[in-house]
Symmetry: C3
Subunit: 459 residues, 3 copies
């Protein structure tokens, strides 16, 4: 618990260029001492910016618990260990792959298409401003949490039938390569989508950059895997109820508060806009939850808890692109439409026999695209409904299409290679018996008696 | 992820008065630019105040997960989906109704009895100081989270027998009208309870304004609904054990940390008093937990987990009014008495056949009143035991009675109207079978085998 | 919700020395008013330091939920209420005993071996800087949360067979006496381990001070208690699977984010090093999780969820001592080795028939010692691999041995006294039936049908 020093070395690679390092360290020390010794308003603001975004990053990392509980609860108990394992290891993998490769591809500014340096965070100071006032460590942690989110979204859509090893490899490649490249186009200093002639593509906190990327990858995975046994049988769509609505609801509430890191943290600074963004985010979540509840209630005659949950998440995904630029009424309208959309979207994907056990594609892809378009309509300075013309809306469409195309092509290639290398899908016997025994050799709820009627007589 | 602008419009209503708006916006821009451009200590403190209260608001919003898990775990599995649905949608409803109506009734200063403006946050700046240093968005979010808490308290007491639609309508009316009006009396700039001749009614973070209001509404609901089938049968009080003590305990721990937003956040600023309040809060929670544990242990011969949980919550509710004004020993005494009170209170309400499945009335109403009175005894500047005379204690009694009366009258009227409009209670058959199937058409724990002996042979 | 005042009395003892107090208060008031009235950069930094460490304390307190869910999930459902009760009450007990005695023993600087004052926080100002810029309340809350962590670690290792009363008394003594004394040696201003001639013993956030202390106490308890019935039977090591992997995984993720308070908060200030510490912490956690996953996968043929969980925790414990002083590659190596160590350690303790149901000794003691040693190897300014010589490593060994010896002697004495006073272990019949019924008279999952084959025919 002592005061820390500056110029700590970031990697052993550094040791190889000691002379250069010494010069740099010497310079840094001077600057840093000057900065640290005097307590100026600028320095306090610098620290406040970094501490706030660190707290936001912690909230986003907490979303791993939210996704884990949500996706596990929405699936069957015989696959719970498998889903928990995927959702737990995925943030560990994302952290390492984004540190090694992803961050450099995404934020190094070598080219407008992808970055070509700063791998392993090499060449970046530990405590000097790097992105605005943010130091490289805090900016990295926040962005790594975002990368992990994109991968976690995939987990739900491919649940209950994918082999563990395939998911692991896909997650590494998504967070190391695909997500960073498309992210570079929007959020790096010189990405090509940020410089469109119709106005820069605008995605404040990632409706497209994070959520629709995860959604596209999930859709490709679910499509290539095919539906779970029994889902579309005898010409019917059979509901396969989740095993634990308590943890699913807990997951939704954790995600809700995690989003207060996701969206307001994307301001990447501590200022008066941060709480404003929290309010638009909250209004849209509330509106999405209410809209989905009543839509489902009217359609099925009963308020469906899974639709309340997905409605709230839909509202959160929908407002993510525009949370900083829309007004309160705009936020409520975006949320309401998200909540209605998600109910119909779940029905739509079932009708075309894309089996997405948790509704990840409907929440993250469909509402992610809607939210990105909504910026072109409701942004108070550039939106069509606020006198901003059609330019922003065109940019939004270009961004959605470009990022979608890249992600679909990348994902399809990877899923296809994995399919031929290992096979994507567990055996029918293992699927019936549950992936927990087959893939992990354990069960999630030892000591409880279960209904084994869906285990095909093999349990 | 770009810097935000000022004077963004709050609602379409604004667009109708563009000329006026332009003048205001022009003025704001000047002031705001001046404020933003220069990094002064005052500006950094302004940002710090707003960021801290935002974080506190997030912690309070997280309490929805705490209440959700606690109340669901304390009830039976056949009603879990229903309770989860109520506790999830209630914050969405509270957000929208408090935004539309409640905030204006509570904080607009038109009259000492209720506010008459600022509905939909109209007329308030997005990033200028509004309450002390807080901007309107962050102040709104914090207060909306409080309003949601009052409504959530009701959910537990009416659980396992109320119709979903009634709870929804009651929650909207409580957060839009009743809670804001009584809250106005205490926490607005000109409420009449804040100006009593015996000294202003003092309720720092809401033992009365939030918890006893929720508790009174819960008590009225539980009384009008009547007890669950089988609770008081054959002249006996039959324990109806909860179905999931793991999530109930998790809920308690989430509420514990949520209270570190609730109480310290009520300072409404970032200063050195904030951690002091966290310590009094924590000491009282600990004392409440220990006192309830040993009281229950002595009375029943065994340490009862549900009493450990309720004792901690009792200590938290008890310290809420006085957390900023009492000393550490005062906090411990308040907590100890809260912990003893809650054990006897649970027994008392059972003895008069008020069936409150989770003990919400004992925790929030009884300990809320005790905590409010305790300010008049233990406050280091105004309390009777610290030489402050009897005046503060008299003010506390007046506030408790006035707010209690209003809430009881309002709640009774609403519950009675709802009873004649829709019926409050599900059918006996549905109650036996569980509200999950009857109200929502799904079950919480699909795939597990359950004991159906309490389902009246209808499952 | 009003501005707070200074010089509020901390305890009734104060009242006995009013004349002295008046002088002190008068002086404070002057200084404090000067400080409060002017908003200077120094004052804003002061508030920021305190608010940040408060938030870190809240995250550490949240770890109680993490440990509670983890340990409960890893055990059998018939003992869930017992474990939940222990993990819930332990933080209440730790708060009160650390307030009354522990804090004074640990941080009062009377002697190099233990403190002799400031009990009940007496004699400390409520809002003046006490430790660096931190006020006594926030420093106390942060440290009380740490003390609670040490006690919570014990709970898991002694689970499923210890009497509730023994655990309670042990926890009080550990947090009031043993933990504070060894902690004083390292973290007080004048502890003897901080002044070793080979260089001060370095344990930034408590790999040894917190985790190995909890681990040693846990090891002694598990050894004296003996294994659970059936664990080592017929010459075999029988797996006793946990009952709820969902909450165990949730617990791991809560602990992960709690560690972002534990380690970065140990900077005890808000500065640019804080997010750096968060990144080393996260990298080590990720590396630990990945290493344990693949080690277990290679050894058993399947990726074991409990090893993913324990690997992440191992990485977190391992980096705790060195989080502020190692580089990113150092952090990853520390985490990788932690993840491998924990897998083999779990096997080792089973081979010597120490029954630790949740792996607490392997995670907290083994990786705590490893992480403390690692400072002597990887610290960029003092570590052997970075040209710092052997001195730091020697200091680390001395600290590990001294603290370990003290804790083992203390724990063994207390466990032995408790054994002769109350008996440590529940009866065999109660153990088979489950401690929930025997110790608490209730069950955790009422309404679900359970497999009673391990209940010895008594249920």
């Amino acid at each position: 618990m002592a005061k820390r020093f500056f110029g700590r070395s970031f990697s052993w690679a550094w040791l190889a260029c000691i002379p250069l390092a010494l010069v740099i360290v010497a310079t840094w020390n001077t600057a840093a001492h000057a900065q640290e010794d005097a307590i100026t308003p600028e320095n306090v603001q610098f620290v406040l910016d970094n501490i706030w975004v660190l707290i936001a990053a912690i909230l986003v990392i907490f979303m791993n618990a939210g996704f884990g509980m949500l996706e596990t609860g929405f699936c069957r108990q015989k696959n719970a260990v498998n889903i928990l394992s995927k959702n737990l290891i995925v943030f560990a993998l994302a952290t390492l792959s984004f540190w090694a490769i992803g961050f450099g591809l995404m934020f190094n500014e070598a080219t407008p298409v992808l970055g070509l340096g700063n791998f392993f965070l090499s060449g970046l100071s530990a405590d000097e401003p790097y992105a605005g006032n943010l130091t490289a460590p805090v900016f990295f942690l926040f962005q790594a949490a975002f990368a992990g989110t994109a991968a976690t979204i995939v987990s739900g859509a491919v649940a209950e039938r994918i082999k563990f090893v395939d998911f692991i490899i896909f997650s590494i490649l998504l967070t190391a390569i695909s997500y960073p490249i498309t992210g570079h186009w929007v959020w790096s200093g010189n990405g090509w989508l940020g410089a469109l002639p119709t106005g820069g593509f605008s995605d404040f906190a990632g409706s497209t950059v994070v959520h629709s990327v995860g959604g596209w990858a999930a859709l490709c995975g679910a499509a290539i895997l095919g539906p779970r046994i029994g889902k579309y049988q005898d010409g019917q769509i059979n509901a396969i109820p989740g095993h634990n609505m308590s943890i699913a609801t807990l997951g939704c509430l954790i995600l809700w508060i995690g989003w207060f890191g996701f969206n307001p943290g994307s301001e990447l600074a501590a200022d008066a806009a941060v709480p404003y963004i929290a309010v638009t985010t909250n209004l849209s979540a509330a509106a999405g939850g209410v809209a989905a509840t009543f839509t489902a209630w009217m359609m099925s005659g009963k308020p469906d808890l899974s639709m309340i949950i997905n409605g709230i998440l839909a509202g959160l995904v929908g407002i993510t692109a525009g949370c900083a630029g829309v007004g309160f009424f705009g936020a409520v309208i975006i949320g309401l439409i998200s909540g209605v959309l998600v109910v119909f979207s779940v029905g739509f994907f079932d009708s075309i026999k894309i089996d997405d056990p948790v509704g990840a594609v409907s929440v993250h892809l469909v509402c992610g695209m809607w939210g990105t378009l909504a910026v072109g309509l409701f942004d108070t300075s550039a939106g069509l409904f606020y006198g901003g013309g059609i330019g922003q809306l065109i940019s939004q469409v270009i961004g959605i299409v470009a990022i979608g195309l890249f992600t679909v092509v990348f994902s399809s290639i990877v899923w296809t290679i994995l399919k031929s290398a290992f096979g994507l899908r567990v055996s029918a016997e293992e699927e019936l018996k549950g992936l927990d025994i087959g893939e992990h050799g354990m069960e999630a709820y030892s000591g409880f008696l279960k209904d084994t009627s869906d285990m095909g007589g093999v349990a």
